[in-house]
Amino acid sequence: MSPAEKLVYMANQIARNLETAGRDHAARQTAEHIIAFWDPRMKQMILNHLDAGGTGLSEIAHAAIAEVRANVDA
């Protein structure tokens, strides 16, 4: 797995474990988790991946990374 693919896998795994909370809630929790536990370079890499189309991200993970983006921009 490339570094970006690994982060996609991690984001999807977090989202999958939280998805029983429902899409929006799970996306928010996934974003909060990534903000709280990922190093800045990991965040930047997954944001770059999102900007490049977000290939491989699940629906919830995709929404979560978008929330991370909004948090970074805020």
């Binding site: 570094p3 991690m10 474990n17 709280a36 990922w38 190093d39």
Partner: protein, 947 residues
């Protein structure tokens, strides 16, 4: 401190509210009802002669030496078996008693060698003491008759000898093995004159028997019958220092008994609140690594790992380390540096390493080996209860009616606590074991689990959810507790979730492999059996759903109200001695000490004001992220204190690739470990015997570690880290670890009441120790959870992505055994290798037969990550389809096989589930051969000939 034998009150203390006052030799004494006359006398300093009695064993009444006279009572009762009574008048020294005792002693001595002057127990022998105490001057029977004096000594055990010629048949060793250790390996064989102590069958010697070498029998022996070899070789100690064991998370307290600067023996301290005077083979005996010839005592450096090491002075090593770290920070940015703290080092040392990273390196790239063991415990318990720690003290088990042990094998991993569990189980507590293997607890002498749920590896969450389903749908939830203590809305959401039909034991059986009837019965027992406590280990955490499983466990405790009082709770059994402490000290990249998130501005400001720096508010890299970043080229330098990530972390090839990609790896350790093969700077470490500090055990108990000898390398580990920090221009001037603890207390709300002074005075303290709990906190969450209301978390079962298939049809799970510790760096350098010289692959007879394998055959163990070879142990302890091995030996490198899958929340590796294939092998794998060559090359030291 001069050597003083620990006081022995003869019989165990009794805890009773009612007291009794009696008179002994004219002195009044008041003791709890049920106390023996012997103990009551000892309480006022009257030592009644005794041989078969000792205060950690139940009274036995066989030696007839402790006779007393009691006014109004007939005869001369044994004081060890006579309970006190109100108004009782006891006489311990009368002419009649003296005559009787001399007669008894005469018989003992008539069949005992009179070699006191050359005996290894001379001056430390209770028989000798009692002969003196009773005034024995003559033995009328002579020595010509039949006796036991010529019996051969059994020297098979590497740590102690058994000389039956000196045995007085008091049965203390047998009773210690039964009552204290719970192994029942020893027995009194024969009757009368033919009585003799036997380790198992008559054909067994000690080494070949079921004896686990815990040392309880040696400690109990009143003569030199069972004697430490070290005492025979060195002589009796002349002083002792109380300190804390550096092996597992039980945190046993020992007296390090010294002769000058030489350690003679480690004897469990009876006042130790974690171990209550017991020990295991590691803590009691396996300390020889401290003086092993492999210790590296001089710093070494090299520009490239292709070069041999060059020994240098400390100053040069520190200057070189600082120059490399500064060079790399300037070239790649400060984010290219990081550090790993050690769960084998003290709280103070750990605190300094994370401080060096945060304040010196200027980032939060610090992590600890808890990443690969109990990081899900931190996440799960903080989320549900509000604090990242177990809820109980060890004493709590004595009030448990039901124990649920999941993913833990305490007999091997936490042996001293396992003995306490077994004692409670023998008293009648019920046991549920959830484990793919039939661990020792499932069935051992006088213990049998009511329910063993042999689940398929990786299905913990499904099993626990099914148990919750039973509890909720059968109306067994403790609604009053939940309404009072937990968030009711969250509970309802969770209850609705677990009540769904798809979570029934019957439906989930297809996934878990667990008999639904048995699971339902286990759930009912846990919910309704009285005080129910959950104990868990790495079989819970080291999964892709490790954090979910911890939260599922917390859910079970809350739904049944089994939290917030003695006898219940959620108890993670910590692997290494200071895992709890390393986590407490802010070793995780997202947390400051006391589990405060690095983004918490108020918490950060406390540290910034104290340290005079600005801290990065962003979390740093975890260990696996560091290795990924290294391979990716953005992480270049790592300071590793007391860890061997190459051997202990998963997917060895990836770890090696990460280390090889770094420009500066600093290994600070006792030995040239496997990670050091990839290091550029080696800083010699010091053992727990060579420094002061504290460890915090699995019950949050902070205990002193005391220097009993000078550091062989000249510096304690905290001094080494301080010198690195000073070379990095940090203004640190600690003169003693107590000053570091003062800083920890100043900055950590749960430690505000902790100081070395208090620890010296009180022995230990369980955090939180602060204004709200000035004497510490043995049991947490009494009256309310730390986070406010307990949080039920929906834990959906998500299967691991590691799947079996045609290429890899078996599931590998890894673990530990009793005689070795973690990567074995310490225990492999002791005589413990007598029990476990190599890692073995446990495989079920059916799976072995299908592959044409026999017990002892060399086999290749292969996964999608890598392959290794080791020998097979054919056993039905593992279920069909499951294989098991340990990771104690570097030439096996079991982690070559494990994968990079990890817990979703914490990246704790999934050691417990790897799809593998096993086949016959006729030689080492390419990896093993390559690694062997690399290892030999990487360990060269200029000017030092290889052995």
């Amino acid at each position: 401190m001069t050597y003083v034998r620990q006081n022995d009150f003869g019989t165990p203390a009794v805890s009773a509210e009612e007291t009794v006052t009696l008179t002994i030799d004219g002195r009044d004494v008041t003791v709890p009802q049920g106390t023996t006359v012997m103990r009551a006398a000892a309480e006022i300093g009257t030592a009644i002669p005794k041989l078969c009695a000792t205060d950690n064993l139940k009274q036995f009444g066989s030696c007839r030496l402790c006779l007393v006279e009691i006014d109004g009572a007939r005869g001369t009762p044994a004081s060890c078996t006579t309970p006190v009574a109100s108004g009782m008048v006891v006489h311990t020294e009368t002419p009649r008693l003296q005559k009787l005792r001399r007669g008894v002693m005469e018989l003992y001595i008539s069949d005992h060698p009179l070699d006191c002057l050359t005996c290894s127990a001379n001056n430390d022998c209770e028989l000798q003491d009692q002969a003196a105490a009773v005034g024995l001057r003559d033995v009328r029977y002579g020595y010509e008759g039949e006796n036991h004096l010529g019996l051969e000594t059994d020297t098979s055990n590497p740590y102690f000898d058994f000389d039956p010629s000196k045995c007085i048949a008091c049965s203390r060793c047998v009773r210690a093995c039964d009552e204290v250790q719970g192994t029942f390996a020893l027995t009194m064989d024969g009757r009368g004159f033919a009585s003799k102590i036997s380790a198992g069958l008559a054909s067994d010697d000690f080494l070949g028997s079921e004896c686990v070498s815990c040392g309880a029998c040696v400690q109990a022996c009143p003569t030199a019958t069972l004697q430490e070899k070290a005492v025979k070789e060195i002589g009796l100690p002349d002083r002792s220092v109380v300190t804390t064991c550096a092996y597992c998370g039980v945190g046993c307290t020992f007296r390090a008994e010294m002769r000058g600067e030489q350690l003679v023996r480690m004897v469990p301290w009876k006042d130790g609140k974690a171990n209550r005077g017991h020990s295991c083979v590691k803590g009691r005996f396996a300390w020889g690594y401290a003086q092993h010839a492999d210790r590296i005592l001089k710093p070494m450096i090299r520009a490239s790992i292709a070069d041999p090491w060059r020994e240098v002075e400390w100053d040069e090593a520190f200057a070189y380390a600082a120059s490399e770290l500064k060079r790399i920070a300037a070239k790649y940015g400060r984010g290219a540096l990081g550090g790993i703290t050690s769960s084998r080092c003290t709280n103070e040392e750990t605190f300094l390493v994370q401080k060096l990273v945060r304040a010196g390196f200027g980032n939060n790239n610090v992590d600890t080996c808890a990443r690969v063991c109990h990081s899900p415990t931190g996440y799960g318990l903080k989320t549900t209860f509000g604090t990242s720690a177990g809820t109980q003290d060890f004493d709590s088990v004595e009030q448990s009616d039901v124990m649920l042990v999941i993913g833990a094998n305490p007999t091997d991993g936490h042996p001293v606590f396992a003995s306490r569990m077994k004692r409670r189980l023998r008293q009648g507590a019920k046991l549920i074991v959830i484990d793919p293997r039939r661990t020792d607890l499932v069935r051992s002498p006088h213990i049998e689990a009511q329910h063993h749920l042999p689940l398929k590896p990786g299905t913990n969450v499904a099993v626990l959810t099914a148990m919750a389903h039973v509890i909720v749908t059968e109306g067994l939830a403790n609604e009053a507790f939940i309404r009072e203590r937990c968030d009711w809305d969250e509970y309802q959401d969770w209850a609705t979730f677990v009540s769904e039909a798809k979570h029934s034991p019957e439906t989930l059986a297809a996934v878990t492999g667990v008999d639904p009837t048995e699971l339902r019965a286990a759930a009912r027992l846990y919910a309704t059996g009285g005080n129910a406590a959950i104990y868990y280990g790495l079989g819970v955490t080291e999964h892709s759903q490790g954090s979910s499983t911890v939260m599922a466990i917390a859910n079970l405790a809350m739904v049944t109200g089994n939290i917030g009082r003695p006898g219940v709770g959620v108890n993670p059994l910590r692997g290494q001695n200071n895992v709890q402490g390393a986590c407490d000290m802010g070793s995780f990249p997202h947390e400051l000490s006391g589990y405060r998130h690095i983004s918490d501005g108020a918490a950060r400001k406390l540290f910034e004001d104290d340290w005079g720096v600005t801290l990065d508010p962003e979390p740093g890299l975890r260990i696996p992220n560091m290795l990924d970043a290294a391979v990716d080229g953005t992480f270049k330098a790592l300071y590793i204190q007391g860890e061997d990530i190459l051997q202990s972390d998963p997917d060895t090839k990836h770890v090696a690739a990460g280390l090889a990609a770094m420009e500066c790896v600093i290994v600070h350790d006792l030995f040239l470990n496997e990670t050091a093969n990839y290091a550029h700077i080696f800083l010699p470490g010091s053992t727990f015997l060579e420094k002061d500090g504290t460890f915090t055990n699995a019950e949050r108990r902070i205990q002193p570690v005391r220097k009993v000898m000078s550091p062989l390398n000249g510096l304690a580990d905290w001094e080494v880290t301080q010198r690195v920090a000073q070379a990095m221009d940090l203004d640190w001037h600690y003169t003693h670890p107590s000053e570091i603890m003062d800083e920890i207390a100043r900055l950590t709300p749960s430690f505000t009441g902790v100081s070395f002074e208090r620890l010296d005075a009180e022995g230990s303290l369980q955090w939180p120790v602060n204004e709200a709990a000035p004497d510490g906190t043995p049991v947490m969450h009494i009256g309310g959870f730390v986070r406010g209301r307990g949080k039920f978390v929906v834990t959906d079962y998500v299967p691991t992505d590691e799947r079996t298939g045609p290429r890899f049809p078996l599931l590998l799970t890894t673990g530990r055994i009793l005689s070795h510790y973690n990567v074995g760096a310490q225990t492999r350098r002791t005589a413990n290798v007598a029990w476990h010289p190599e890692d073995l692959l446990e495989i079920h007879p059916t799976d072995a037969e299908n592959r044409g394998l026999k017990d002892g055959d060399w086999v290749k163990l292969a996964s999608r990550s890598g392959e290794t070879t080791l020998r097979a142990l054919v056993t039905d302890r593992v279920a069909p389809g499951v294989v098991y091995t340990t990771f104690h030996h570097p030439m096996t490198q079991a982690n070559v096989v494990t994968t990079d899958y990890s817990d979703w929340a914490t990246n704790c590796p999934e050691y417990k589930v790897t799809a593998v294939q096993v086949a016959a092998s006729n030689g080492p794998t390419d990896w093993q051969e390559d690694y062997s060559r690399l290892s030999e090359r990487a360990r060269r030291i200029e000017g030092v000939a290889a052995e």
